[in-house]
Amino acid sequence: MRELAGYLPDIGETEFETKILTFQSKNETVEVEIPFLTTEQMDKVIEKVKKASAETLKSFSISEIVSIIDQAIVRLLDRDSLYRQKAEKLLPIVTGYDEEIIRLGLTSYLKTFRKKELQRFLIEDLGNPLLLDDFQPRVKGGFSKALGPNVFTHIWSGNVPALPLWSLISGLLVKAGNIGKVPSAEPLFSGWFAHLLVEVEPRLADCLAVVWWKGGDEEREHSIFEQSDVVVGYGGNDSLQSLQNRIPVTTRFLPFGHKISFGVVSQSSLDSRKTWQSVHQAALDVVRYDQQGCYSPHIFYVQHGGKVSPKEFARFLANELENFQKRHPRRELSMEESVSMAAWRQREEMIIFSNPNNEVLGNQANDWTVVYEENNIHFTPSSLNRVIKVIAFETIENILPYIAPHRSLLQTVGIAANPNELFEWAELLGKTGVTRITALGSMTSPEAGWHHDGRFNLLDLVNMVDIEAAAEESSEQFAPYVD
């Protein structure tokens, strides 16, 4: 099976070198062919996108853009549509994730980009979305308009399906020309979305491009970044650092590094009836995309003192993960991943010798692992792929000192607690660097208008143009109707 990836505006050329990425899962193979442009071709693409963004995209009203995105999303939510079918068929092979996990994940993710969510998105960041269309009066006096970049470059990474939509849609909402570099781990979805947008609104044809080049190609990246107004980069800190070194100081760089997330379960939620529900939701957060998301939990801290003990919580969680393994089996692991996971589990098993209250729970095939730890609060990442720690604690203050040193790596906390605790804990966790607090079961699906890593999705992309009150007043004296 072969699938063309990427999307190119019309630059008057039809011959492109391509790169073929081969993906294999179980018995199926997909070859993904993606255009690999020469520097000259890339320059033409940038020129085209820049021009179309300035002349075409910026002439759309924000409500027109919202409606175009909404129509594209509606098609993707329709399981009979062409691109949705492609996604359901090919993404499991490309990423290795379970088909049902992908199907459910796509739906829950895509529906956060419906018209009403996009409107919320806009209001959340801008207050008045018309700022994107026209100069709007300000409370302080004067007028302002929010102007998006002409060229917005995205360096996507990772294999979590459809993740590039966040920044791509943000770019569209601020009327930016978008150039995306697909990750070789999931090169398809962003290109499909670009094609779909152009099918919905053909006038967008030259406003975006989805391409590939080898990460670290200094000359190429330097030239692209030079011509971009804003660059958003996803990836590990090392690769972000090297991107940053190639970005001129006049180009705005928005780095999103790898993050670590966790859960906190209060004793107030641990009664015999409600615990099952929390455990089920917690297991879902682990199972979805096998913890590969930045919002996926590495650890659940579970409080002593409830009707259900932390140790029992761990055992329930193990049971739930085993159930999920039957319904939604884990992605097949590479030899490297298998070895590191086996080594991780063996290490945990050895630690039991010195700490007999610990438990390592797992099945014969190592499909998942729950490690229970007592009297040893710490904060270390899981080896992922359904490996989770349950660590018992007494009070939230016991945990904080271990989390605080990792401020820049923190993101989501899934919480099961009563309303008082929710706000008290949120206050404390926020101070240590956590930027998102949500319910167990929702960790992997941030709501529309969330602040990704604590930042604004749209505000960070735009420049505000102010007409100050002085200019407005002074213009009055030159009006033809002046007395």
């Binding site: 590990g236 063996q346 270390t380 990442p381």
Partner: protein
């Protein structure tokens, strides 16, 4: 005779024999298992946790393999570690902790090494003039490789054999003298040492523009590998360069594969093509398993190597490595050590976290 002495005697005779059948190997493996289960307490806990007791373990293949990392966390010895004649330590560390392998006596280690070395490296000759590209045993008292090489020199080196490294690295003058001497006299010469030392040596010789044509019968033994050993091309380049620089056939360039946690080494029959087939003597057996399930993979498929070394009478016979390999009729392909895995998604990987934490940049 106490129990340890009896065990040592049994192992000694087993190794001394020319070969062994499955039945004999099994018998000794199970005897050692029962002994280690009884006296090596951390190992016993490990086995109990796996539900593997001497009563349920019926063949050497059932013996639960200990991951090499466990040598860092636990004292795996049937006798008090303070009584050990030698403690070999791993060079790699996790958080500054080295793996330790306790040998209450080196009798078995030395016997295993010499018999095997003679058969696989010396072959047709009794002694050879040696040059060692590795520090002396005195300087690295906890290095099993230093001991191995010292033993090689002592048992099989002529008295003109030399160590060719000093505190500044390779003693190039000495090395050049030795190589010239071999060329002039026609006396076969053997260079032995760590693979990375050979890489340095080759770089130096290339810089000097020197090549040699060592006499027939000369040979090389490298061990330890260098980064990305799994890359066939790099290995191929290495042996090509060794062969052309020193004028030694690639079939005379032997690679030894050994780990601190074992008492026995594996060798290939030269490196005419890479990867070469590695094999060991009759007192060590290797299985290739799926690391997740612990089950053997079908012959010809990649998996992780598990070695059962009857020379390991005191620690544990059976270890689980992090080396990837493929089982063959007459041995196995060693495809190199598994490198750390990178994050697939946007969640942080353990290595990256540790790196960030150690730099303090995560604060």
């Amino acid at each position: 005779m106490n129990q340890q002495q009896e065990i040592v005697q049994h192992v000694f005779h087993f190794i001394q024999a020319d070969a062994s059948g499955e039945k004999d190997f099994n018998e000794l493996a199970l005897r050692l298992y029962a002994y280690q289960y009884q006296y090596n307490l951390p190992y016993r806990s490990f086995c109990m946790q796996k539900g593997k007791t001497p009563r349920t373990v019926k063949t050497w293949k059932d013996i639960p393999p200990v991951p090499i990392n466990a040598f860092k966390d636990a004292t795996l010895s049937c006798t008090g570690p303070e009584k050990a004649e030698a403690v070999f330590m791993t060079s790699g560390t996790t958080k500054g902790i080295k793996g330790k392998h306790y040998h209450p006596t080196l009798q078995i280690y030395d016997q295993s090494m010499t018999l095997n070395f003679k058969k696989r490296f010396m072959r047709d000759i009794e002694h050879i003039r040696m040059g060692i590209l590795f520090p002396k045993e005195k300087e690295l008292p906890n290095s099993s490789l230093a001991h191995y090489l010292a033993l090689a020199v002592k048992k099989f080196g002529t008295k003109e054999s030399h160590y060719l490294v000093n505190e500044n690295g390779i003693d190039m003058n000495r090395l050049l003298d030795e190589l010239h001497h071999a060329e002039e006299t026609g006396e076969p010469y053997a260079l032995l040492g760590a693979s990375y030392s050979f890489v340095h040596m080759l770089e130096e010789l290339e810089r000097m523009g020197k090549t040699f044509s060592l006499p027939k019968g000369s040979r090389i033994l490298d061990t330890g590998g260098f980064k990305n050993q799994s890359k066939e091309l790099e290995l191929n380049d290495f042996y090509l360069l060794l062969s052309t620089t020193l004028g030694i056939e690639r079939s005379e360039c032997i690679n030894m594969y050994g780990v601190t946690e074992l008492s026995t080494q594996f060798y290939d029959k030269g490196n005419e093509s890479v990867p070469s087939v590695k094999s060991g003597p009759h007192w060590i057996r290797t299985r290739v398993i799926n690391p997740l399930t612990g089950e053997e993979v079908p012959k010809g498929e990649r998996g992780v190597l598990v070695h059962c070394d009857l020379g390991n009478f005191n620690s544990v016979t059976t270890i689980l490595t992090e080396d990837v390999g493929i089982e063959l009729e007459n041995g196995f392909f060693l495809l190199g050590r598994v490198q750390g895995t990178e994050a697939k998604g946007c969640s942080i990987a353990v290595e990256e976290f540790l790196k960030a934490a150690s730099k303090g940049v995560s604060e």
